[in-house]
Amino acid sequence: MTGEWLDIGWLEEIPVRGSRTVPVDGGEEIALFRTGDDKVFALVNRCPHKGGPLSQGIVHGHSVACPLHNWTIALATGEAQGGDRGCTPIIPVKISGGRVLICRASTLRAAA
């Protein structure tokens, strides 16, 4: 089973307002976020500031506060908010039949 989308698991496995990680062999870890209104976003698990693991931050609205120095990153765009500048690559994600799918090509690209 390959196709365009990688099946990661059930939506329920990601805590609401929380995150889970997916390591990529030979590449960068992906973080999957689930927000309070049950939307899912996928980003490379690396803060544009100094590489903090965004998956460990506090999720609020559609943003995450980086656990290291509290930059706020928009989940939809990966962009740092407020006065901070920088961007984390995002990965297209979709939910189908309760399963979380991420875009294979983008995951590979992020890995490269």
Binding site: T2, G18, V24, D38, G57, H60, L68, N70, A76, S96
Partner: protein
Amino acid sequence: MIDHVERLHLVVIGNGMAGCRAVEELLARDARRYRVTIFGAERHVNYNRIMLSPVLAGEKSFDDIVINDADWYRANDIALIAGDPVTAIDRASRTVMSRGGRVVHYDKLLIATGSDPFIIPVPGAALPGVVGFRDMSDVDAMLAAAERGGDAVVIGGGLLGLEAAHGLSLRGMKVTVLHLMPTLMERQLDEAAGWLLKSALEARGQTILTGADTAEIIGADAVEGVRLKDGRVIPAQLVVMAAGIRPNTALAREAGLAVDRGIKVDDHLVTSDPDVLAVGECVEHDGQVYGLVAPLWEMCRALADGLVGQPSGYRGSVTSTKLKVSGIDVFSAGDFAGGDGAEDIVLRDASRGVYKRVVVRDDRLVGAVLYGDTADGAWYFDLLRKQEDIAGLRDVLIFGQAFAQGGGQADPRAAVAALPDDTEICGCNGVSKGQVIACIGNGAASLDAVRAGCKASASCGSCTTLVGQLLDLTLGEAVEAGPKTMCKCTSFGHDDVRREIVAQEMRSIPEVMHKLHWSTPDGCSSCRPALNYYLLCALPGDYRDDQQSRFVNERMHANIQKDGTYSVVPRMWGGITTPGELRAIADVVEKYNAPMVKVTGGQRLDIFGIRKEDLPAVWADLNAAGMVSGHAYGKALRTVKTCVGAEWCRFGTQDSTGLGVKLERGFWGSWMPHKFKMAVSGCPRNCAEATIKDFGVICVDSGYELHVGGNGGIHIRATDLLVKVATETEAIHYAAAFVQLYREEARYLERTAPWIERVGLAHVKDRIVEDAAGRDALAARFWHAQTFSQDDPWAERAVGKAREQHAHMAAFNPIRVEEIA
């Protein structure tokens, strides 16, 4: 007479909402082109399925909800074959077969088979007494059960489940709703609205269990109850499965049509076979499957256009939802995912029970959630569907259509200026505009001064914006900024929020956010941890800690490092260790390849560089040697530093080590506004540096000097002497009272040093030294809270709790996936 032979034969499978509407649309365009036969599995004429809820609730009868009666079929020369479902489609011969043995030829076939309730696959799901909620026979079964009375369980807290629960409870059954997710209707509502809905349903006598995972339906010959995965058993003679629907695609799949989640159709509702069309809930268009009627209407129009040779094309639908429970108004529309540059506008009015949230992106409305006042639902939905530019309405959008379009008052200040003097500004305290202006006239130049002067906006805060505008209008530049608010999500400061949590007996973060009019849907990384702490402190034993509102270190029970690994610090009570503990630590360092182990400034060992996946195993090893979490990561008791004291030191006056151990054993685990450090020195030489600790003890010949409010950190501060006591027992008693006062009064992230500077040592002495009864009460509250907090968080996790915090969800190995391909 119409000539049947000349006309093409259209066969419809499914006499439901979409099937019949498609035929209606077709007849309206060209009544002569097709001869129509409709197969229906149900024994009824076409009725309005969505009105089954009012039928169950006793507000309507079946006759009231019929859409097309027998006369309609007759008048339009439609052959209705009701009660005889189609069992197979043969595309080669263009025929359908029915259970009753009918074989009918078609020129065009329309599949409109709708959906089936999803029956969760648990033991007992097939017992008599388990029903879905989809058609009239389900309603009949529920009504028969309600007749006998007793307990009903509804599995699923979405739209269908809640309407079933409402109907059954009106019919006199005792209803429990089991919902897997933390909030009701989570697909349509955000947490705030879900919480309001839950409170309202509970107030009507229903029991709502969220986070409830069904393990089994129990009963010998019929349903007797439901057992949850956590072991609870809920008695029930009726179980309604409302856990979702599945498109009814079996026929199409067996006929070899392209099917994914639903039957795949193009923009003209044509399947992979040009002679077979499909419409309604059974189809998948552009990756979407719908579960509401509005999209069906749009599909049916495009379908009929295609059938008469004037293709228009269906482009997908935006949907909105309303809950049909009388007296409870809930509306949701569009997508509140926001994303790129999306902005939330939130209005909360706790006194009226209203919550509104609209999501705006690029000057367009993209989503709306309304609770309590849904009057503007249609207006928002219209703006949303038409993608109207709302730039001009932005500031007043949330107040609704009447306000936004009422006489060009798009400038909120102009609108406020135009209000008559007797308009009530603050509903909680009954303060009029005139009174607020008078208060400002008497010298109140800030929000806080107005709150103090006339009480406007001092309670729930929903009128803060209005009061702010009145200040602006009256004083212009001369308005003074108030004291700092907790964060940008609220107009209240920490002290106000804490006071209201206690006064209004609030019990959860969404409740606080609602009652105090938070301007964001779920707060931010500043307010959420603070609220979590305030609730925890106010409701010991009762409040369920919200892990997602904790900073990483407290959620992971370890300290995050700059490279994303963690450090692990086990407790060493009073700084004393044993060969066994040291050996266990050494083993962990080697076993998990920890790059460094270091003696900390707090008299214990810190193991660095542990990966989050390995943490539970590391803790299991440390637990096995008798060690527990040192909370080196927590807003909690850190270390109790000691010196060797009277036992060994030639100057020692008391057993400083022993007292340190007792303090650490008594106080560990308690959550506090910030970290809390203690020390006990055996004499005034003070080798344990007790005078820069939050609570420090200096032993002297005649007893114990208790010092408070020290800090060795960013702003160094030596302690103040609180009091001198004669015994160890008294020293511990005062420590408990002091810690509790700090827990109850300090603001989140305020160490004892800045707290004491702010409130004054005199205040602390008044409460703890002068007031003996008050001291005892504080200490009693502290020890009570401690009975709930001394569970080692590592031990729970070592055996699997919060596994999701540590384990990866999946792993991606590009090469291996390629190989499978």
